[in-house]
């Protein structure tokens, strides 16, 4: 990423929670993400939608600096993400870790406070109280002492969300938080998203379930290697744009949506 090059953003644009410009990622020879540029508004819930292999998670990871980009610039509140780490909260895919790790739910949530603790600092009583509060917010306070492998998939997802809350961030990235969760968890997540929005935080969510997009998100970003469309849900989440994103593979889409485009 070109940190040394002069920023391509003007100052007014730079203050946005997230500005992505010309972001490209390639794993082997083939780019998995090509020249993606967009800018999100503060206090919005943004859904990233696209078919499998469209580069949704890749884009999120590249924006977070977890994988190298071959070109492009990512600014968080006007500065490179490296300087803004404390403003960013991250919920990775649940399958990305081994849940048999010897630790309990509260301990995982405490990891969200590590960023503030410094190199040798240990979590103190107030950090633990804060972590417990975060667990409470996702309805998991009673499971604080539970070994994490003994939690259901949905409960594990909520622990990950609580950990992100403990980061006290302003901009959240969530990689498929709704994947394979039960109804109670789905409801807990959506309540939480609404609360984050109320607090003026910005949340970017990789999402799979097209049926709930209009209900959950203020804006959607349609992605299939390249950016297909980005904007307010009502204008962007249309039959025509979806068909383009999914390459005409969406014949089964809800008929009622057809008259909206």
């Amino acid at each position: 990423m070109s940190q040394t090059a002069k920023s391509v953003f003007t100052s007014s644009e730079a203050a946005a929670p997230l500005s992505v410009s010309g972001l490209s990622v390639a794993y082997q020879k083939k780019p998995v993400l090509r020249n993606v540029s967009f800018q999100v508004k503060e206090g919005e819930l943004i859904g990233i939608i696209g078919p499998n292999g469209a580069g949704k998670s890749t884009m999120m990871k590249a924006a977070l600096g977890l994988i190298p980009a071959i070109s492009g610039e990512v600014l968080v509140y006007g500065k490179p993400y490296k300087e803004q780490r404390k403003l960013i909260g991250y919920v990775p895919q649940r399958e990305s870790v081994d849940w048999d790790f010897p630790t309990n739910a509260l301990d995982v949530v405490l990891m969200g406070t590590y960023g503030r603790l410094g190199w040798f600092g240990r979590p103190k009583a107030k950090d633990k109280a804060h972590a417990l509060e975060c667990l409470e917010k996702v309805g998991m306070a009673e499971f604080a002492d539970r070994q994490i492998s003994q939690l259901s998939g949905g409960q594990q997802q909520r622990v990950f969300l609580a950990r992100a809350l403990a980061q006290n961030a302003k901009l959240y990235f969530m990689d498929e938080p709704f994947a394979g969760v039960d109804a109670a968890t789905e409801k807990a997540i959506i309540t939480l998203l609404q609360e984050l929005k109320k607090q003026g935080k910005t949340v970017i969510v990789v999402h799979h379930d097209l049926a709930t997009v209009e209900q959950y998100f203020d804006s959607v970003l349609l992605l299939n290697v390249e950016l297909q469309a980005f904007g307010p849900t009502a204008e962007t989440f249309t039959q025509e744009k979806l068909q383009r994103t999914y390459g005409g593979r969406l014949a089964f889409l809800d008929q009622s949506r057809g008259d909206r485009s």
Partner: protein
């Protein structure tokens, strides 16, 4: 069997006893992290890679000392680590294959060098092979002092960086996200494994040292669901294995300390896999029986109730 007090009366045995305990402790502690990172075999590879490193260090200096060997083994370990990393990144091979290639290459090279040394004009070479394949009885006071300093530093680093090591073991992506230098921490863990290996070589040898990195950690996992306790227990199991190994081998004539230490660690593992609460085989069996019994009883009650209802 000689009794414990008798053994401890011999000052030389005291050194060996403490040396083996420290070795077990430090490899148990560091081994916990490599086990949780699913890199148990990395320790084995680094141990085998240490062999040519030590041979070259000896050829260059002509000295047999832990300090010199540590440098040689450390450099060889770093090269081996990069080798593994390079192969997994630039080929379609998975890590197990890469480990196998690097392990056998380094070990082969080490054996070649060792033979070369033994047939060459190296005056002081006597006993180098015993050193490399483990001979605790050859340890002297100064070795144990070096081992103590190294072990204490190793355990201190693991205590200070416990939070970091925990997070990169559980969720490296998240660790990177909050700005931890994950690559640096991973290299540091690798380096600590090399250190533990070199400390252990004299007592158990390059081939068996991997057992002390893996077995105590696996055993400890059976007893607890908390990482801190697991690391401490693993260190304890390692230290006890070292102590038992020294004691048993000193009481029965002609038993080698290193292999007995490894067997002691295996005994702890067997106890753990059987008697560990929740995860142990017996605990699991009992739980299954309990659940089955309760289900059967409920079934009987249901059947009786049904019978009662139809009778009405």
């Amino acid at each position: 069997m000689k009794n414990f007090m008798e053994m401890m009366a011999d000052p030389n045995m005291q050194w060996i006893f403490f040396g083996c305990m420290l070795l077990g402790l430090s490899s148990g502690v560091i081994g916990s992290f490599s086990y949780l990172r699913k890199q148990s075999l990395v320790g084995d590879t680094l141990a085998h890679a240490a062999l040519p490193g030590i041979c070259i260090a000896f050829m260059l200096t002509g000295i047999k000392s832990i300090g010199v060997f540590l440098i040689g083994a450390g450099i060889a370990g770093v090269i081996a680590t990069f080798g593994i990393g390079y192969i997994t990144r630039h080929s379609r091979l998975k890590q197990d294959a890469a480990l196998g290639i690097v392990l056998s290459t380094f070990f082969g090279l080490g054996i070649v060098l060792l033979t070369f040394i033994q047939h060459g004009a190296y005056g002081n070479q006597a006993g180098l092979d015993k050193f490399l394949f483990g001979q605790a009885a050859a340890m002297v006071g100064s070795d144990v002092v070096t081992m103590s300093i190294i072990s204490v530093s190793l355990v201190t680093i693991c205590t200070l960086l416990f939070k970091q090591f925990k997070l990169i073991s559980f969720d490296p992506g998240f660790a990177k996200g909050i700005g931890y230098p994950v690559a640096f921490l991973e290299q540091l863990l690798m380096l600590l494994i090399v250190v533990a290996v070199v400390v252990g070589i004299q007592a158990v040898g390059v081939v068996l040292i991997a057992a002390l990195l893996i077995t105590p950690a696996v055993s400890a996992r059976y007893w607890t669901n908390r990482l801190g306790i697991m690391v401490a227990l693993s260190g304890l199991f390692g230290a006890l294995s070292g102590a038992l190994g020294t004691w048993i081998s000193s009481s029965v004539s002609n038993l080698p300390t290193g292999p007995v230490t490894v067997l002691a660690a295996t005994a702890f593992f067997l106890l753990s896999i059987l008697f560990g609460p929740q995860r142990g085989l017996i605990a699991k069996r009992l739980l299954r029986l309990r659940v089955k019994k309760r289900y059967m009883m409920e079934g009987e009650l249901r059947a009786e109730r049904m019978k009662g209802e139809t009778a009405l």
